[in-house]
Amino acid sequence: MNWMTFSGPEIFYFGASLWFLLLTFTAKPESVNSGARGRTYLTAIFLASAGILVCLASVHAEGWLFIKAYKVDPFSQVFKTLLSLGLFLIVCICGQMTDIDERRHNEFFFLLFSCTLALMLLVSADHLLSIYLSLELSSYSLYILVALRKRRAQGLEAGIKYFLIGSFASAIMLFGMALLYSTCATAYLPEMAKVLPGMIGAPAVVTGLVFTLGGFFFKLAVFPFHSWAPDTYQGAPNQVAAYIATASKVAGIAIILRVLASAGQGSPYLVHILVILSVVSMTLGNLAAIAQKDLKRLLAFSTVAHSGYVLLAVLVMDASAYSAAIFYAVAILVMKFTAFMVVVELAPDGRNLRIDELAGLHRRSPLMALALLVALFSLAGIPPTIGFTGKFLIFTAAIQKGYVALVIIAMINVVISLYYYLLVIKAAYLLEPARTLPPLVLSFPKRLLAGLSIVTIVVAGFCPYWLIQIAQAAAQPLILGR
């Protein structure tokens, strides 16, 4: 068994987090100078970029590990690549983490890498237990990451809320898993996929399934498990919020797809629940976002809304919907990252960014303003952006299944969402600051990053075929797994 070759990413990230753990032990608390910090950062960048290569190298791997509890297939490998990409992007904007105690930077990276590792395990998990374990592992890293903030009051509150709601949700999920296990007589997803469609109507199965999904809904911030999102985004350090909004969401989409793909589509009740939750999530997220003053909190609510769109894809449950959801995961990764990048760059001291603080951005940094504009339009789903193409694919899949009304509701939500995105854009392009602020000086790599983000969003929106093919390839195992 050549498990070394096809579990390369996991091993690599395990090693990387171990490396940071060791650094944590060796570093002397008193003597953190800028050189050491720079070294830590460079290491992180190096490891993160190397991680992408490792993931790419093993992208075609396929097989099982741990008595088939762990499945390596194109689906998981694509998501692992996405996660490594997400991590790399987040590390890129961690250059000036003034909001986290400098002595804790090693721990920060340790938690970040181990969280990524956990998410990678999650996307490969094929057994309830492995799912549960990796989910918990990623959550615990994040709880601490959130609480790490120097602005303790905010960080702690966010951490507490995240932790309480998260562990509540995972308790529910665990109970659901227990029910599923007890009715299916197996904890392997492929085995469950064989028996579940036949007994999908049974109360215990439905309860178990819905409870289990609750844990994933928490990851994805779907109503009613979304309530941590606004506070956590707002209270967490900007970089951590960015990580939660991107990598964590991507993994959430992955696991929800894998579990529901094995549940199959036999139950109208399940679909009804998903429809309800999807509609409520997007409506509630979009409505609540209108009233926000804090940019991160606004993005949190927009995340809730986007979970609603993802659920729309999930509930359709066919090949095109799965690939649409995978495509949308990519879209979320890119556009959320771009938006958060602007937040991070505009708040070098790590404070929260109020929307009216964006005033005059178009003059201070036209590039950042443009990045924000493109990212927000992409989030709103205006072509030619990746966000639009993602929505288009989802809607296509949904309408093919006959959910026209649902798509119209989603489009109305898009209109509502554009309203608050426009408010942000207005602040960036229209308002003038009370006192003139100095131009924002960006280093070349940052400009390159911003430029690449913009180009990616637009080009992937306009010429999405390559990405769609990848998404289709990744969705293949979900269909065959049935």
Binding site: I160, K161, L164, I165, F168, A169, I172, P203, V206, T207, V210, F211, G214, F223, P224, F225, S227, W228, P230, Y269, H272, I273, I276, L284, N286, L287, A288, A289, I290, A291, Q292, F301, I416, Y419
Partner: protein, 625 residues
Amino acid sequence: MAGSPAHSVDLAALLAATALPFFSFLAIIVATRGRPKVSAGLSIGAAAVCLGCSIGLLAFHSGLSAPIEFSTSLIASSGLNIPFGFLVDKLNLLMIVVVSTICFLVQVYSLGYMAKDPGFSRYYAFMSLFTWAMMSLALSASLLQLYFFWELVGLSSYLLIGFWYEKWSATQAGKKAFVMTRAGDAAFFIGILLLFIHTGDLNIAHLDSRSALAGVPPSFITLSAILIFGGIVGKSAQFPLLTWLPDAMEGPTPVSALLHSATMVAAGVYLFARLYPFFSLSPTAMSVFLAIGTISMLLASTMAMVSRDIKKVWAYSTISQLGFMIMALGAGGYFAGVFHLTTHAGFKALLFLCSGVFIHRFETNDVFELGRLGARRMLIPMISMVLGAAALSGLPPLSGYFSKEAVMGSLAGLPDHVWLAAGLCGVFLTAYYSFRLIFILLFPRERVSGEPEGAHGAAHKAEYGAMALPLIILSTVTVFLGFFETPLRHFIGVAGEVGQAPTWPHTAALALAVAGAAVAWIEFGRKGAAQIGFVERIEPLHRLFAERWYIDHFYGLLVNRVVDRGIARLCELNDRKVIDGSIDGLCEATVESGRVVATLQTVMVQYRLLAIFAVLVLLALYYYY
């Protein structure tokens, strides 16, 4: 299209007569606005060519038997073929000669009248625009083409009335003229469209030969005839759309002479004559036309009796003479109508141009004032004006006498003598108000002040010369045109129509005209006359006439109260309050609910756990339900 050389000569002449003024218009607008002399030269040159071509065509085709037609299709989408071209027959040969003559003379006259105006070039540009539109209108081959130029004529009228646009009343008058004629044109347009939909053919020749109308129900012909007549009502200022014409006198006097008496307003009558065979298919429509002509004729005469403004008197008289023409045509007197149109063009232009000389000289429109300032000392215009007024009153041997007798003749041919009575009444009133004006001018009550005529300078002389020449020409025409009645009748080719009508209406008309003049003499002319007309002694009547029978009040009420402050305001309110209000309300509600939802998201963490639990329970309930 035509092949023979004669035809190509015709075509060239027609093209020259229609296209040259247009090009002169474009050239003046684009290039020569800064050079008034060149502009005037261009415009007058174009008018002269028009005149030459018209006379040439008339001379060449004096024995024309069948109409000549040139046509090409302007737009042809499937099911829609709109031909554009020329239709030449005797009627419009006569018409284009009249039009181009007056155009040419008025433009020459304007050299003097407009000499010091800053908008000199613009004036000639608009004049050229009018010439183009009017000539093309007269030569139109299809009804739609006629409508096309009909509107353009309206445009040039609008522009020329409001020529002195800094004068608010002038712009007001221009707008009024355009909108009121437009109201008539809307009916005209509907009529055309109806006709087109049912016959698929708007060719005037086809309509007149009635070949296109086979199988069209008579009620339908009546309907479309009346609708088309709406356009005539608007353009010729007939009842109920007659009040724009007196207001149009705000424009320069040569404009009034050309557009608002001799040619443009006569276009309505021309259209009537043009479609005469078509209209006469419907006796109902014909009697409607007759009635409208009569009403307009009488109303306008009464208004003219009390006006103090020299131009307005002639304007009212124009309406009433147009009413005469329509009466004649409505009564079946095709030749009478056309002949009266021709003679009227001559003497009415003459009257206006004479008034123009006075106005130019004394800078007032008030008749009494003009008289006091010594209008009678200006010999040429005064004599011409007397001639014109006499022609207007229908006194022999002037042209008006002959044409009015013809009109009376055709009215007498009707079985119902009400029309004739009305006509005779009109003759009396016409003579009365014409001579009222003449006597006021000739015998001012106060002593004539003002310097003798020769006192003004050489520049004035030149201007005066330019103005006097057309007067003389038109006076000559007025004096002699009447004697051409028989040749004209033969040319128009409806010889049989006059029949052996009794001669008493003619005598009566002449007698009444003399009587009218006599009454005017008693009240205004003789020594010691108070110069107060009998109408002015009856106050309510005077006010009724002076307020134009309150027609304007009605329109003002309609436009301001009903449309502007009524329906339009409702629309606006609906827009602001209902539509925008509901949209804004919806958005506000969305934003507000967003606030509520956002506030709900800030509750304590335990409530959030509770919410999760509650939702799960609800979902379970949904399942078991």
